[in-house]
Amino acid sequence: MNQNAYGNAFSLKRHLWAQTLLCMKLTALLLFAACLHASARTYAQKVSLSGKNLSLEQVFEMVKSQTGYDAIYNPDLLKKTKCVSIHVKNMEIVDALQRCFLDQPVSFLIRHNTIVVTSKLEEKKVLTTNNKDPEEHIPVLEIKGKVLSETGEPIAGVSIGVKGTAKGTTTKEDGSFVIDANPGDVLVVSLVGHVPQEIAVTQNASLTIKLKQAANELEQVVVVGYGTQKKATLTGAISTVGPSDLTAVTTSDLSNALTGKLPGLRVMQIGGEPGTYNNDIDIRGWGTMLVIVDGVPRDDFQKIDPGAIASVTILKDASAAVYGLKAANGVMLVTTKKGQAGKAKITLNSSYGWQKMTEFPKPIRNAMDNLILKNEAALVAGNPLPFPDWEKYTGEDPDYPNVDWWGLTVRNTMPVTKNSLTVSGGGDKVTYFLTLGNLSQAGMYNTKSMDYNRYNFRSNVFAKITQNLTANVILSGMIDEKNSPYGSSSFDFFKQVWMQPGYEPIYANNTAPYYFDGQADRNPLAIINSDLTGFRKNQIKNYQTTTTLTYDLPFIKGLQVQGLFAYDMTYGHNKIWRKAYNEYKYDANADKYLATVLTSPTRLQQTLDETVYTQAQLSLHYKNSFSAARHHVEALLLTEGRNGTGTQFLAQRNFSLSALSQLDAGLSDNQIASGSDKVLAANQALVGKFNYDFLSKYLAEFSFRYDGSSLFPKATRWGFFPGFSVGWRINEESFIKDNLSFVDNLKLRFSYGKLGDNSDALGFEFLQGYVYPSGSYIFDGKSLTAGSAVKGLPNPNITWYTATTTNFGVDGDFWNGLLNFTVELFQRKRDGLLATRAIALPPIFGANLPQENLEGDISRGFEIVLGHSNRINDFSYNISTNFTYARARWMHRESALPGNSYLNWRNSSEDRWKDIQWGYGVVGQFQNQKEIDVSPVQNANGHSELFPGDIRYEDWNQDGMIDGLDMYPIARSVEPEMFYGLNLSGAWKGVSLNLFFQGASNYSMMPNEQLQGPLPWGRNSSAMFLDRWHHEDPLDFNSPWVPGKYPVSRDGFGFGPNKMPSTYWFQDVTYLRLKSVELAYSLPGTWVSKINSQQIRVYVNAFNLYTWKGKNITFDPEHRLSGDGSDGGYKYPLMANYNLGINVTF
């Protein structure tokens, strides 16, 4: 048998009791090994077995259910065995098994409550073991082996012990180990954060052991506020993901890799523009959360290479109270990877991918379709037809152009490449993790004038300076640079390209380079040409250091003192180069090109922007157990301070020379220089945390933070934020332990805490004075005097607002991973939200009022996580799904007294859901003139402008006319109330497949501007409006109507009354999307080792692959195009990514 394959195939049938034993009492086991060992022989158990044609597996099940004895075997070995028929009562276990093993090609032995099945080769020895001390009589075997991770990388530092003995070793840097053992001994393979394995020693074997990461296992250590904690003893609502979840998708934005993975975390994409990182991210729908990277608040976590991340944790309840003033919206903790002792490991990861826009509205892409709409609009308006000769616009005759502007300007696929090199390793004293990465991503313009490049560097060095003193230094640096054309933010570009009619030529007189001066404000091709119209270059350099010194105080066991200092600097450099250029019209009579000068004069604006944050922490940490490990105590006292400073400088010059884009080459006339220091909030805090658990069964935690912020005046700047949580691990109680052995874990949790928030505070609201600059005026006809406005009344009492969070949770794990679940019920009640009282005061008072702590709201919801993982021979798989629901309502909202009960009903927000959308009900679309004639009066102009196809509103109050009084709540707003994810992953030998689905529901969207009506400013239209009501003969008003989806075409964004907020436009944008798929293959070790590599893994993955949504939704529902009504839908499209990658480790 091939040795590697043997190792892979060596599957352990582990049983629950043994596993619990391992999980919970491994340490104790080792300590008391000798004692247990001594009793092994004399420990007699009786069993009763009865049945015909039982497989040995069934026998083992019966034995286990009666004695708790576990059985360990190689399934291949058992395949050769015969079925047995047996009927015994209260027989010694050894004797009963002897009967079953008669004439079998295998043998067995019993060690420490475990039945080990061995091959017959050792039969003689086995038989002797039953009579004699095994240590003395069994020859010692030298067991060699290698420990690999799930992905096939060797793991150093794994402890290999012989069960029941003090013998042990750890793996070297290449994952290899050598240990002496006797046949029948059981090797225990364990590493923190991984599922321990037990392997029976059967022969002189070379083993390859795959150690599974304990992603959902209770032994897993989770990063929590200012520390770590075993998952089993957690009492807060905390979710965490490890690196394998983050690297299964290749994306430039880390938050995309988190979407749907952490129950309670909501991530919605806003656009796919390279280098923008503008996803909407929050916890339980609560608003911007605090993000802590390696212990320090840092807000650019999206740019960290997922390969450098060890874990991401979110704190969703009172467990966040240790973060005080900024914790009300939850906290995200990002921890980066550390090196592990062992030989240097070099990993190279490279991927190449293509981006392709997901479903996105497109304009009409030919001239004739557009001209038909224009003619129809003129027809119904009673105007002469503007293009009776529309059929000539085929593009064949240069006088009748037909241009596909969309096709000319937009790329179909855009490349993205990603490379990273990681070196990690170390010795006893020093470990290191170094990574260098690069991301390069192209934008969507055909001129290739948009691209983004990011370079990351990260070094994490951990040094043991003396026995008790350790130092950890994390350095990270990042440079990113985005280039884009001057004249086209995605807003400008889509606005122009959607409305640019196809009947206009690219070039005047069809002659390059005379860009035609058409109806769009700028020629769409010219604005994406950086050489012609200028560029924007946006560079951000980011440098972060974190130094931590930890000292284990020698005089008190378990007491540690730690100091941390972080210095983060961000340096932004922006260059905006606007070039004057011409667009042309052609005068055929004079044979002359008439130029219009655009974006003149040529101008360079350069901005430098520097921000520095410093943070210092000093903490005392105590951890100990008492009374034979019955009482576990942990305590933390910490003080920290954080301060930010920054400065900004801007210079601008106009140019007569446009060949050099340097300020030096500009003119000094009308130059501008300005700048100012930034005032960034500082804070200072004292943090305390106390954990206690009794037998890991009854758990309790109390924490507090005394926090001060510079945003508030002296008297009110300090706040005290306490929280507590308790937990009860029911499975540790004997009534479960003894009766329901399939229950691995069952825990009830409750938490309650007060958290604060200052994020909406404007700052300096407690000061009086005049705000400069505010407005400006020219007093002398020559020079500008900047103005200063009265700041308004101060509020000397302004302070943080508080959130009271309550969370109740249940966790369960059953049948060793076959089922696990978590249910959370939560409520967050906020008081003292900042608002201005102005609307409650008579305007004749005349003053701007300051922010005051006036309003309140409440948010409630639940989360459910369900998981299942299993292994069938070589195939292991994992299913996990999560669901979050949250909805918020106002408790108190500042508003003026309503004039009457109707106004109260219509306008009040008091004690009302926050996401209500008002609008009109829609009966349908008018099918014919008769329906129009008998309908209620639809608008101020009666029925005079209506045609079949127009929207027929519901006369909700039945007063015979449609007006504002007919509006009622018809929809919910753009933030989804439900968010869900489903992860399916499977692995078979070297192949792994990971499918991830994610979706959202209970929200809606209403399009506007060019997505709501055709012919904006009389120009082109969104292609969807071709599906419209129209006359059969587009030139004849009297021809019959042909129904369509949208109303009949009207010039200038369509007919106003059709566009009111109504159920016609508000669309439920529920979706489920196949967010990511990854198929990976690890090359067989024999091939890999030939090139001295430890692992070679190739993969293909895709992101945003497919979306299920309502059939009427013609855009990407996650994108929420113009969902907030202000952006006109001109958002950069979301991207689907397809990547090929390779991961090589040496």
């Binding site: 920290e640 020219i778 003026a896």
Partner: protein, 578 residues
């Protein structure tokens, strides 16, 4: 070894303590970089001046140069925005109640605090500035009264009630008559304080611009008294008996300006068209028609008038254009030089008249029309505007599609463009904020007309006619020899001050708005180009009623008091008809 790490440890602890606690005293005390304290403001002249700049910028001179949405001429019978629906019922500055009282509070604060401050070295300057501040307050009240009628007169800086009971801040509306009398008294006092000396500029209030505004204000009050009706016990409306007082006050204020000789009607160019057009561009001292002006200086502060007004083929690179389109009736209102009937000669007994040059249709029109309106065939920036709605080619009539309209998007739909503040030779390409023509808020011609109107209402027709004729003479059209009627006067005011946002207020105060814009259809001039004969004919074309028909109902003479005002101050009553 032990010593080393203990040393390091102590270092860490001391460093952290130093950072956290050593600076604790002011670690959390940060100073803003954008706030001038009250102490500084009331002791430093430059700092005080920044606040004055802010206050001047807050004055409610609707500035359609910057924000065309506020342009009051859209609401009148002068012009339309071809690209938008018309709705004359809404005052674009409807929020002025809130804004106005904010400004009034700032002014009240200064009136209380300035006299005891050390900003100014001498009493004289202090008096001048206090006069300006008082005058701003009076202008603010005028703008409230012209919109809402009577409003609460607040002259003290109110404090938040200690009891927390906001009802202590409630105040009822004073009568419209009292408000105008308060404005009159305040203006008189302020005018007395403001000097005519060296600090005189047209960009700040001074004695003369104060008097000029006073004549406008008093004319408004007098008209309301004479033509309006009293409602809500005088909360809106002024007793008829007070009309004469206000006419007299208006006349005296205007007369004082005239007699001072400070100003003169602009007459620097013998070409009457150029002269009238340049009046709005000439920033030099020779332009003595500028009484109160908001200044623009590119690139410090520019506006978008050229961008918004440009004919289609002359638009700047940023688009827009064609936002101001004078309507057919307005163009007909311009008289001929020697004929007071300005009707355009489209037909001869029903047969369209053929013109070889479309501009011939406008031959002999008032030079002020040529300086204010662009029409089919207008010369403009070296070209001739090609505006036509239809073409007849080979005997077939089809859509015209002229280079400058009609039916081009963003081109005129009335056949006309506004050129009053358009620069025929802009010094730079049209772009956002590329224009810097000054906005003249009140000019000498208006003062002369105000004087004429007051004299006419006070039955001094010869004096009124004299001033109307001075305006007509400067414009270059025939003078009126026989006694003029009120309609004659109003016709002259309409033309001389066309598009300058006076007409909106004039129609309101004369209480003729609901007659002038009574379900009024809007007409365009549709030129038809006969390509076969190379001649033009013209049609009077009605624009789509749904988009352009305007109506003004009688309740609109007073704005609706914002609901929030009444909800937060129950003593305030709503205006009639809402």
């Amino acid at each position: 070894m032990n010593k080393i790490y203990k040393g390091v440890l102590i270092l860490v602890i001391t460093a952290s303590c130093a950072i956290l606690h050593g600076c604790k005293k002011n670690y959390l005390d940060k100073a803003p970089t954008n706030i001038l304290t009250e102490d500084v403001l009331f002791s430093d002249r430059a700092a005080f001046n920044t606040h004055m700049a802010y206050l001047y910028a807050q004055l409610p001179f609707s500035n359609f140069f910057v924000d065309m949405g506020t342009y009051l001429s859209y609401k009148t019978d002068e012009l339309v925005n071809c690209t938008q629906d018309q709705n004359p019922s809404v005052d674009p500055n409807n929020d002025w109640w809130v804004q106005g009282y904010k400004l009034i509070r700032d002014l009240n604060t200064l009136i209380e605090k300035l006299p005891t401050s050390t900003v100014f070295p001498g009493q004289q300057e202090m008096t001048q500035v206090l006069g300006e501040i008082k005058f701003m307050r009076a202008i603010s009240y005028y703008n409230l009264a012209a919109r809402y009628g009577g409003v609460p007169i607040i002259t003290k800086v109110a404090q938040l009630p200690k009891s927390g009971n906001v009802s202590e801040l409630y105040a009822p509306r004073d009568s419209e008559s009292d408000v105008f009398k308060f404005i009159e008294a305040e203006m008189t006092e302020a005018i007395g304080m403001m000097s005519t000396a060296s600090s005189f500029t047209e960009y700040r209030f001074n004695k003369w611009s104060g008097l000029a505004f006073k004549s406008r204000t008093m004319l408004y009050a007098a008209s309301v008294a004479k033509y309006g009706e009293m409602q809500l016990n005088g909360t809106v409306g002024i007793p008829k008996s007070e009309a004469e007082h206000f006419w007299t006050s208006a006349r005296d204020a205007a007369k004082e300006v005239i007699e001072s000789g400070t100003y003169a009607a602009y007459n620097e160019n013998s070409d009457k068209v150029l002269n009238y057009h340049n009046l709005f561009f000439d920033k030099s001292g020779t332009n003595r028609e500028r009484v109160f002006v908001i200044s623009y200086v590119w690139p410090l502060k520019g506006h978008n008038f050229d961008r918004n007004a440009a004919p289609f083929s002359h638009r700047g690179g940023v688009g827009y254009g064609g936002r101001f389109c004078p309507i057919f009736d307005m163009v007909e209102s311009y008289e001929y030089v020697n004929d007071r009937n300005g009707a355009l000669k489209l037909n001869n007994g029903g047969t369209p008249i053929e013109y070889a040059d479309p501009a011939d249709l406008f031959k002999d029109k008032d030079p002020r029309m040529f300086a204010s309106v662009l029409f089919p065939g207008s010369p403009w920036k070296g070209t001739t505007l090609k505006i036509y709605a239809k073409i007849i080619e080979g005997g077939v009539e089809k859509d015209g599609h002229g280079a400058d309209g009609i039916t081009q998007p963003e081109a005129t739909s009335t056949g006309f463009y506004l050129s009053k503040w358009q620069d025929p030779a802009p010094p730079r390409p049209i772009d956002n904020n590329s224009s810097d023509a000054d906005r003249i808020c009140i000019r000498y011609a208006e003062v002369m007309l105000n004087y004429a109107e007051a004299e006419l209402e006070l039955n001094n027709e010869p004096e009124a006619r004299k001033y109307v004729n001075m305006i007509r003479r400067r414009a270059g059209i025939e003078e009126l020899s026989s006694a003029i009627s009120m309609d004659d006067y109003r016709q002259e005011r309409k033309i001389e001050l066309a598009f300058e946002e006076n007409r909106y207020w004039d129609l309101k105060r004369w209480r003729v708005y609901d007659k002038v814009l009574n379900n009024k259809d809007t007409y365009a001039l549709w030129p038809v180009y006969n390509k076969d004969k190379e001649v033009y004919t013209f049609e009077k074309h009605m624009l789509p009623p749904g988009k352009f028909t305007r109506n003004f109902t009688a309740n609109l003479y007073y704005n609706r008091v914002p609901d929030a005002v009444i909800q937060t101050n129950p003593l305030v009553v709503q205006n009639p008809g809402y």
